[in-house]
Amino acid sequence: MALSTMVLKMLEGFEGTCAIFFLTLLFSLPLGLLVALLRRSKLVIISSITKFCISVLRGTPLMLQLIAVAYGPYYLFGVSISRNKLIPVVIAFAINYAAYFAEIYRSGIDSMPIGQYEAAEVLGYSKAQTFMKIILPQVVRRILPSMTNEIVTLVKDTSLAFTISYVEMFTIGKQIANSQTSFMPFVVAGVFYYVFNAVVAFVMGKVEKKMDYYDI
């Protein structure tokens, strides 16, 4: 198979890769913030349950979680497996990444000096206003480097979707490699991921620069 044919075929799978990437970010970024707030709850029962869930999600392989979400409902409740594999993939990814993002948000929120809360309180800001206007914008600035790290990992993790035979770039690459007994598709996949991540790093670098208008 000519290299160009190979690349074109794998590009078809790239759409699937992008779908996982963007949908996971779309759901896990807000979900992570919610989980971070639950984790910081003053009610011990809520914070302990959240802490336990995070530890399970971080302490078990994403591949296992993917399989659990995709096939668990069938084995547990006899629910037929949906033909659209994107749904279980995004659910598993969004939940897993929300756990990681939650810990990053938490570290950012915890790093905020108490004086910012006190100044806002004395000025009469409500709790919600304080968080949305004063705390969160500064937290986002502080956690951007760790976020970039996690997002870069997400790009590479999309390849795990092949375990439940969701068609993305790596799935196609593997298929070609098997049928052609060639190592080339893996090289192409490697280049794809690398370029994708170079773009991610570039964009995040721009965002960081844009938020760099004040000192912490």
Partner: protein
């Protein structure tokens, strides 16, 4: 009429009692300085007055309206503290400006989004205040682009933008070097001349003497002595006050 009244205030952190049956009040137009050694409870008293700390017992009132009341031996706060927060402003030792907001936004945001006032009207007032401070060319600067003295002056005008009846200062110059201290003290002096009601916790004895109508000396969680600055600084009878001031005049 007293703007602030604090009666029989008790406050403990764990087993350590920081405020022991403190009573004092501040009248309109009065400038009160609170002096005393570190750990004497001065800052805690201010933090209780501004609801950053809750008191264990006693009564706080603004304009004779009680904020707290004793019910079955427990101190209970009213529900709507924001009604009372409008009465006062607080200037912190380390400014606590919002670093992601410009000077102008630092000042304007609370009047607009907390008090719901008209944006353009607030902007005009804030620019007027900045002009008075000689900071109008800094309106679009971020706090990190200002000197410490400028930052503290901005935090003073941020508090003034809320039009408080009384302004509290918690060691406003303690984070500044001696050269920058002067510009902040000058602003406070000017406010005193305009009859702004103020309570100032400070270690600047000369300043406290010059600016205050009344000086309160605190030690070990109690008010040891209070009176006109000439009395406290000039010819105090109290041994503890004498000892404390002697260390400053060395």
């Amino acid at each position: 009429m007293s703007i602030l009244s604090m009666q029989n205030i008790e406050k403990s952190f764990g087993k350590h009692q920081v405020l022991k049956d403190i009573s004092f009040s501040v009248d309109e137009g009065e400038v009160v300085s609170i002096i005393g050694p570190s750990g004497s409870g001065k800052s805690t008293l201010l933090r209780c007055a501004t609801f950053l700390e809750t008191i264990d017992s006693g009564v706080i009132a603004y304009n004779d309206k009680p904020v707290t009341s004793m019910q079955n031996g427990k101190c209970v706060y009213v529900k709507d503290l924001n009604e009372f927060r409008k009465c006062f402003g607080l200037v912190f030792q380390n400014f606590n400006l919002f670093p992601h907001y410009t000077v102008l936004k630092n000042m304007m945001d609370a009047p607009v989004s907390v008090l719901g006032r008209d944006k353009e009207e607030v902007r005009a007032e804030c620019m007027e205040l900045l002009k008075k401070m000689g900071l109008e060319d800094r309106a679009e600067f971020y706090p990190c682009q200002l000197s410490g003295g400028q930052q503290q002056r901005v935090s003073i005008v941020r508090a003034l933008a809320m039009k408080p009846q009384i302004l509290f200062f918690d060691e406003p110059t303690s984070a500044l070097d001696p050269e920058l201290t002067g510009e902040v003290l000058k602003v406070i002096k000017e406010l005193a001349e305009e009859n702004m009601t103020m309570v100032i916790v400070t270690h600047e004895m000369q300043f406290a003497r010059a600016v205050s109508d009344r000086v309160i000396f605190m030690d070990g969680g109690v008010i040891v002595e209070q009176g006109a600055p000439e009395e406290v600084f000039g010819n105090t009878e109290n041994e503890r006050t004498k000892q404390f001031l002697a260390n400053y005049n060395r």
